[in-house]
Symmetry: D2
Subunit: 344 residues, 4 copies
């Protein structure tokens, strides 16, 4: 079976394992306070053009999300996100388990806007009973989003301006940041992201690393004691340098973005073939996740060779499926899939 | 100013203060383990026709809701409610502060149904990734609801059957239970409620008491150690007998339902007048909360004499307001309000 | 049976019930935003000599403790208290239920000192692994303490100076503040307390009120959004003016301290009699709680007429018991008890 | 510098990296539901002789501890441990952050006993106010302990019998289980551990793995929905098979215990040398952690070549340090250290 169900089906890019093998005998101090993490921190600060940023390495995305949000919010404050947001639908209530409501906003494209933020702010404070309502204080967005869409430069600038005006923090979940930045439609760059968020992370797990997310804190107010929170929430890896090594390998010479571009190219190829074959999309994505609507007859055949991720039943004879490419996707497999789609 | 903004604008029915005065010298043991609480417990068990029920007295509604839900759920489980549910909108994230997600379901009338419960259950367990999603385990409903509607007998029986089929608990918030049971449209009685819920409470604060909610646990699985949870969540009143006294006074001879009927009658009178005057309703309620849509011109005049609770802006010249009667509402004030509405 | 087991065995001072009866018909706005609460706030600000203080009324002590601590601390921070501290032993882990460790320090007299605070601070920050340890940030003390001791003026000044030096907050639980301030040994006054804490409360429940604790926030950094936290933790009484009325009645003309003085005088009488009869004390208290060690033979007789609170088994023939007087203790009962002790 | 400060200073045993390299191209399903995890589960079930056990793989120790405890306890229940227990001192209040008190018991050797458990149980339930006290429900022990001691077979059997008698759960933290089981003094085996605990884990991070702890749930009552809790607490590794691979490599042919034995042998060698040189121990340990008391003069010299972990200042001229060996410790370095100690 060939897996197109997600972007974390292979261990990691070979360069990472090679580097780990080279260092397997070396003794290093624990918990991320080592030279390998420092090297990766330096690369990231250089990449984003901000020397004062704090960079922390966590193991996974749910962990990163709940650790950041728990660190930032006071008990009565809540995180605002699109209804499709990962913290709202696929983290088993991790944010709530740290005591905070997630205020979810229905959207068509999985994205929030400056206007949405401003409206939430005004509605909260205009309510005479606002003390009876969880206070919106942090805006959570993902790029690319859970349904494959991406933020354009002006959209991010607008939403961050709204957050600043409203006294709210902007947190960008970059679990699939590579795939967002590498795709054709994108006009954002990582420096602009760093200038227009309070905290974001660069996803490793889904973009070529064995595991790991690099949390970048830009806003000074959010920096204090973050390592305590990482430790308390179970996210402080004993052998922290494993994370430093990975981000160094991925980021020191642009490998991260090359890998992501490959995935996006493969996805575009599939997108084109699906379109040409007359099939429709469940949502439109320019990046590595393609949400297609296929008839059952086609799916039955494809499922003999390929694994997709089921999304929803669309009508009596059609289902929506996610076809996900990754840094590791082989073009020959993509070509075979395309042939099989067209054959139908 | 005459207050129609809520049903807790006066201290309490005079009988309660009288009884407190009689007992002001009497020494009693603390924390609800006294003879006055036992007397009230006996009256309630008799009323619901279930000798094995556990009855606990808490001070307020938010406290009752979060204490019950925190006691019942394991960390990964969530409470399901209508989007208009009190736990979702007016408790500053109290349930989430105990670690649990609130899964809110948009409804037109503020009520859940057996079908909604079954669909949620099926959707959860059918999802291959259900472990990544908060597990729906408790259904929270209110009677009367936050928008004034009430549950009919067959609706409650249906929703409880669904809960049992799905392995979920049914919790009924009865902050306004009196007003629900006393209104004309109602066909439910408190015995049927006790037979068709796992836990519910009889609201005191909004129905003539100084404060207090009587939580009734029917399901044996939910009884263990509940008093620990009350204490931990700050709800164990030192002078617990104050609660026993109040519920005894209200329930020993039907005063509770008389008071509620008075409020409902007053609300119906207002409802009729509003209707006759050609105004519309924001939501239809047979009980003590009337959600009316008034033109600004009328509101401007009424607001000189009366306090309502603002709900929403309906259009450029109309707003929705809640007119709330209570056990203490004076008929002369209702008549004056009606005259003022009709005059317009 | 005559109760000496605690100081909350009677409903409340008669003046409170009288005032409630006078106001039973009056309509008032909810949630503590009313003129009666404002009046009480004014009296308290005047009493402490600080116009900028924020005053909030909560229902009970456990609720006040956990609400204050949850409001003040970030997730990784802990509260430091004496091992005998109420939050450590008699609140069913309420503080921990809001996510915070309670760091308990063994003491002989139930009191912390400036030196203890400084040592904890130095030890924490000197530890290379301090991020792996809950960060001490709030110091919790009680006056009078859970074992009946009181803080002297210089002791409080010293501990607050230590807190400020160490960047920690000082929170004084005043559930029995009246009894502390009214006793003969005391040299503290409420103005000095307000000048030497960041937040404290004036206890009502144990000092003549029906219920209620007046939380006074002195430190500006701790004031923001406190009402949200009250609501979230279930402590916002719907009929908030009931609290305003009580504190006004108790504090407007010194009744609070008169009642406390009476209790302390009664306790001193008992203390003297116990001493004269040759019995020992489990701990030495100048205030309304006397911790005596009685032989079983004496206890057996006394238990026929009086209720005490059992503390501990001291040896094979002796137990320690708490004899607690209150604002409501009748001198005739005290005299009878003394006679019965001396008779033995 | 040669590190003796902990047992997680090298990446992992070479066999693990080799196996990862072999599988780097292979596509595998996520979240621990794969054949590699299943293989490791099979090996572990075989090793403990219990086919019905549930085996889950988590990333780190703090995460494993808080996930297990949060899953097992209801909100009012607490975990009992020795004061030196890892959950009490080195996890930044992680257990408390999930809402549960940690009840710490001072001990001389870092170990709890059946008698301690029984006494805690009796004391709790004998207290008339037990509902005001966090309920002891889970006993947490470590083997080897945080101060290097180990549980003997009869000690574990005794403590588990006490737990069953008292209705409490026994949870054994095996972060250093290998080092405990491999040392000379030990008479326990892993089957006996599985028969005498409700849940325990086999530590990988400190015993040769890159990371990972294998949680084994024996008690059926504790099995339900554990994967939800792992996900919620951020411990579900996307590429879960990385954990399966590691435990398979370590456990399939006894490598785990060989590596541990090597570390213990090295520690014993150091222990003997320290003893022969006339130095004392801060605590006595038969396993891989040696807690020595060295004069400053010696430490000054050793610190030029070796890294230890500082424990405490013992007197004006001596400090206690932890010398920790591991699976990766080179005998030549141990010999050099011994020579340097003896030289002094």
């Amino acid at each position: 079976m060939i897996r197109f169900n997600n972007d974390y089906s292979e261990i990691c890019h070979e360069r990472i394992l090679k580097r780990m093998s080279e260092l397997s005998d070396t003794q290093v101090g624990g918990y991320g306070l080592d030279e390998y993490c420092d090297e990766a921190r330096g690369i990231i600060k250089n990449l984003i053009g901000q020397d004062n940023a704090d960079v922390h390495f966590l193991v996974g995305g749910t962990q990163a999300n709940m650790t950041v949000i728990a660190s930032v919010l006071r008990p009565h404050q809540c995180a605002v996100c699109a209804s499709s947001g990962h913290i709202n639908v696929h983290e088993t209530g991790a944010v709530e388990s740290t005591g905070h409501k997630v205020m979810s906003i229905p959207t068509e494209n999985g994205k929030l806007t400056g206007d949405i933020v401003r409206n939430i702010h005004v509605a909260h404070w205009a309510d005479f009973s606002h003390e009876h309502i969880a206070q919106p204080k942090l805006v959570y967005i993902s790029d690319s989003t859970e349904i494959g869409t991406i933020y354009k430069k002006d959209e991010l600038i607008d939403i961050y301006a709204a957050c600043r005006d409203c006294g709210m923090y902007l947190f960008l979940d970059g679990a699939r940041l590579g795939y967002a930045l590498a795709c054709e439609e994108n006009d954002l760059d990582i420096k602009t992201i760093a200038e227009n968020t309070d905290v974001f992370y660069i996803g490793g797990t889904k973009c070529g690393a064995m595991f790991g997310e690099a949390v970048v804190i830009l806003n000074d107010d959010l920096k204090e004691d973050f390592r305590y929170i990482i430790k308390q929430k179970g996210g402080m890896l004993a052998k922290g340098w494993l994370l430093g090594i990975q981000f160094t390998e991925l980021l020191k010479d642009g490998l991260y973005f090359e890998l992501a571009k490959h995935a996006d190219d493969m996805a575009l190829k599939i997108n084109k073939a699906v379109r040409e074959s007359g099939y429709f999309f469940y949502s439109e994505s320019p990046a590595n996740q393609q949400f297609v609507i296929f008839p059952d007859s086609l799916l039955e055949k494809l499922n003999e060779k390929y694994v997709f991720e089921y999304q929803a039943r669309v009508d009596e004879t059609h289902s929506a499926e996610r076809i996900c490419t990754s840094w590791a996707t082989k073009e020959e497999n993509v070509d075979m899939l395309i042939a099989d789609i067209k054959k139908s």
